[in-house]
């Protein structure tokens, strides 16, 4: 049984840790609120670009390479993680999803990594990285989305990859981020639901092909941009939740240890009293 003094030392350590966790939680919750507002403000743009892409792709007859699929031999996967850890399963779950996608599509897939955690993960597993982007995951700018989008488009255009996938955490709430896979390229028009757009008349100026040519690169950037924002909000949310749990655990531990320490101290006092009493009895008996 540890002594009361040892227990006191342990309690102080855990209390200090709890203070650090709680500070991290506060910082994350401020960043989280900002990132959450940002992702929500940005959604209308992404939704509209996506909708326009669907409409135009359906109307265009040209065989733009970015639109028309070709036989798939090589796949590229771009994974978005955070730069830092301490965010619960946030990074691990998206990396796990990436690995299962690679197993399913192409074990030798070209890998693109955004976020230091993804870079470290793939380097450790000796997966060669085609492109690396780091240093902005907790507060991305559109410029970075453009860079990533351009790199991914280039992989497709140079025929290094015949399909490009994006894997990232979609932000749902501070408690919940879901890893999702999105195929970026080729942008194949969806065949199934043409009940509204298929029938409605739409004029393209100058024509659908010209609009499409300009839209596709913007579309790719926009999808990356939205994914970066979702991932950033998810990162802060996950860290906030993880730090809250850590703080709660530390506080529980302090409570348990305090109880143990009190018991130990009580036992010690009882022991001392017993010794004094039995000593006194021995004297009086003599």
């Amino acid at each position: 049984m540890p002594s009361a003094r040892d227990l006191q030392r342990q309690i102080n350590t855990v209390k200090n840790q709890a203070r650090v966790f709680s500070a991290l939680q506060t910082v994350s919750s401020v960043k989280f609120r900002k990132a959450e507002a940002r992702v929500k403000r940005a959604r209308p743009y992404a939704e509209n670009v996506e909708e326009m892409m669907r409409d135009v792709a359906r109307s265009a007859s040209g065989d733009l390479p970015l639109l028309a699929g070709r036989e798939v031999q090589r796949v590229a996967v771009c994974t978005l993680t955070a730069d830092r850890g301490l965010a619960g399963g946030f990074n691990a779950q998206v990396l796990r999803r990436t690995v299962s996608l690679r197993d399913e599509k192409d074990r030798g897939a070209l890998q693109v990594a955004s976020g230091r955690k993804a870079v470290a993960f793939f380097r450790f597993r000796r997966v060669e990285l085609a492109e690396v982007f780091t240093g902005f995951t907790d507060n991305p700018s559109y410029e970075q989305a453009r860079e990533i989008g351009r790199a991914l488009t280039r992989l497709f255009e140079d025929e290094e990859a015949d399909e490009v996938y994006l894997v990232y955490n979609r932000f749902e709430s501070a408690l919940n981020q879901r890893p999702v896979v999105k195929r970026l390229l080729p942008v194949a028009p969806e065949e199934d639901d043409d009940e509204d757009s298929g029938t409605s008349y739409m004029e393209y100026v100058p024509d659908a092909e010209t609009v499409l040519k300009r839209l596709v690169p913007r579309y790719v950037e926009t999808m990356v941009w939205q994914a970066l924002l979702e991932s950033a909000a998810g990162e802060h949310g996950a860290r906030m939740t993880a730090m809250k749990n850590a703080t709660d655990n530390a506080n529980d531990l302090v409570r348990d240890l305090t109880l143990q320490m009190n018991k130990a101290r009580q036992a010690q006092i009882t022991q001392e009293i017993l010794e004094i009493v039995s000593g006194a009895e021995a004297l009086s008996a003599g």
Binding site: P44, N48, E203, Y204, V205, P206, V211, W225
Partner: protein, 151 residues
């Protein structure tokens, strides 16, 4: 408002949204929307035929009652459908809010970057095109701010 909503149901009120990747800049009713699309300036009134086009670097003007809202924009996309005009651009700013000094700095920065593009860069054309685009957008901000503030 109730009356307007009713009008919208009958397709008599035009609405306009100007959207950038960061946020929705304008979202509301409009009597007239003027923008420079692929084949020139286009004015959209209520009950316009559905149309999709590109927007060139320039300005989007929205007239609503007796007010006029003018936004300087980068290039992007333009859509009219069911009395909703959507302008999707990477950058849009109300001409009243343009920081002329900052915009001029951006122009200079773009010029400097252009002169520094390496001759051997593998995607030289693309890089140059991208910088020129930024430059045009910033120049447009300066031009629009001067035009609307002085007059």
């Amino acid at each position: 408002m109730a009356e307007n909503r009713e009008q919208r149901g009958e397709g008599r009120q035009l609405f306009c949204r100007v959207i950038t990747p960061e946020e929705v800049i304008y979202d509301g009713e409009a009597d007239l929307v003027i923008a420079r699309i692929a084949d020139g300036d286009l004015g959209v009134l209520v009950d316009h035929a559905p149309l999709v086009s590109t927007v060139e670097v320039g300005e989007v003007r929205i007239r609503e009652d007796d007010e006029q809202f003018v936004y300087a924009t980068s290039d992007g996309f333009f859509k009219v459908s069911e009395n909703l005009v959507q302008v999707l651009v990477e950058e849009a700013i109300s001409v009243d809010e343009i920081d002329i000094d900052a915009a001029e700095n951006r122009v200079e920065e773009a010029e400097r970057e252009l002169s520094e593009v390496s001759e051997e860069a593998e995607d030289r054309d693309r890089v140059i095109k991208e910088i020129e685009r930024r430059q045009r957008t910033a120049e447009n901000f300066v031009r629009a701010a001067r035009k609307y503030r002085e007059g």
